[in-house]
C-alpha cells in the first residue's frame, strides 16, 4: 500500500492535534452555553465529532492515495 500520505506526516505529530481539539471544543461550547454542565457536555460532543470527521477525511485521502 502506498504510505505516501502517512510518510508526509509523522504519526507522532498527530498528537499535537489533541490540545487543539480540546481547547477549540471547550471554547466553542462555552460560547453556546452559560452553565458549566451544558458546556462540558457540548464540548465532548463537538470533540468526538471533530475527531470522527478528521478520521473519515483521512481515510478518504488514504484511499485516494492508494488508488492513484
Amino acid at each position: 500500500m502506498d504510505n505516501a500520505l502517512l510518510a508526509v506526516t509523522e504519526i507522532n505529530d498527530l498528537w499535537y492535534t489533541v490540545p487543539l481539539i480540546v481547547a477549540a471544543s471547550l471554547v466553542y461550547s462555552a460560547t453556546r452555553h452559560e452553565l458549566l454542565t451544558p458546556i462540558l457536555t457540548h464540548a465532548v460532543r463537538i470533540g468526538i465529532w471533530s475527531v470522527g470527521f478528521m478520521v473519515v477525511l483521512f481515510a478518504v485521502l488514504a484511499l485516494m492515495s492508494w488508488w492513484s
Partner: protein, 228 residues
C-alpha cells in the same frame, strides 16, 4: 421566537454591563471581559484554554538558543509579509510584544530578550542565511530561512497554535459582547420535551373525561344508585 429553558434561565443571570468595554477587555486579555461581567467560570475557562494554546505555541516555535516566541512576529517587508500575525493579534496583549520588537528592529535598535517575538532580519540577496547589513545592531539575529530551517516543523506547529488561539479569542470577544449564542438543538430538545409533556397532559385529560363519562353512563343506567 421560542427560547430554550436554559436560555430563559441564563438571561436572568447574565448581566452584560457595558458590552463594548467587555469586548475590548476580552481582546486585551482572554476572559477579562467575562470577569468584568461577573461570569467568573467562563472567564477562567476562556483564559486557561486560549492562553495555554498561545503559550504552548510560543514554546513550540522557539528555543533557548534562538529565542522564544519566534513564530509570533510582525513583518511587512517584501518577501516576508507575516500574514499569520493577522490571526495571532486576536489574542490581544500577549501578541503586542511583536509590534514593539518590530518597531525596534525597523529603527535599528537592539531587540529585547534574545529576540523574543522579534521578526527575522532581512537576508542578503546572495545568501539567505546571512544578514543584509552585517553592521546592523541586530545582525546577530536570525534570518527567516535560518529560523525555519532550525525549528523544522515546530515553526509551523507553533504558528498554527498561536493562530488558533487568536481566532478562538474572536469567538470569545463576541460572547462577551453579545452573550452566549444558544444552539437550535437545545431549543428543539426543549420544544420536543414540552410537546411530550403537553401530549401526556392531553392524554390524561382525555382519560379523565372518558372515566367521567363512563361513571355518568353507569349512574344513568342505575337510577336506584342515584336515589331515584
Amino acid at each position: 421566537m421560542v427560547k430554550s429553558s436554559e436560555q430563559e434561565a441564563v438571561q436572568e443571570l447574565v448581566d452584560l454591563k457595558d458590552p463594548a468595554l467587555a469586548a475590548f477587555l476580552t481582546w486585551l486579555i482572554p476572559g477579562l471581559g467575562h470577569l468584568y461581567q461577573g461570569r467568573r467560570a467562563k472567564a477562567a475557562l476562556f483564559f486557561i484554554c486560549i492562553m495555554a494554546t498561545f503559550v504552548y505555541g510560543c514554546y513550540l516555535g522557539g528555543s533557548s538558543e534562538f529565542g522564544w516566541g519566534r513564530v509570533v512576529y510582525f513583518s511587512w517587508r517584501p518577501g516576508d509579509k507575516r500574514l499569520p500575525f493577522i490571526c495571532q493579534v486576536g489574542a490581544g496583549l500577549p501578541s503586542m510584544p511583536a509590534l514593539v520588537q518590530a518597531y525596534r528592529m525597523k529603527n535599528h535598535r537592539k531587540v529585547w530578550f534574545n529576540g523574543f517575538m522579534a521578526p527575522p532580519i532581512p537576508a542578503s540577496g546572495q545568501d539567505e542565511t546571512e544578514p543584509a547589513d552585517p553592521n546592523d545592531v541586530n545582525a546577530d539575529q536570525l534570518t527567516a530561512h535560518t529560523l525555519q530551517r532550525n525549528l523544522h516543523r515546530y515553526f509551523d506547529l507553533g504558528t498554527t497554535y498561536t493562530m488558533i488561539a487568536g481566532l478562538l479569542n474572536v469567538l470569545v470577544i463576541y460572547d462577551a459582547w453579545g452573550g452566549p449564542v444558544f444552539s437550535e438543538t437545545a431549543k428543539k430538545d426543549d420544544e420536543e420535551s414540552s410537546e411530550d409533556e403537553d401530549k401526556d397532559e392531553t392524554t390524561d385529560a382525555t382519560k379523565g373525561n372518558t372515566r367521567n363519562e363512563a361513571n355518568n353512563a353507569a349512574k344513568s343506567e342505575n337510577p336506584r344508585a342515584n336515589g331515584a
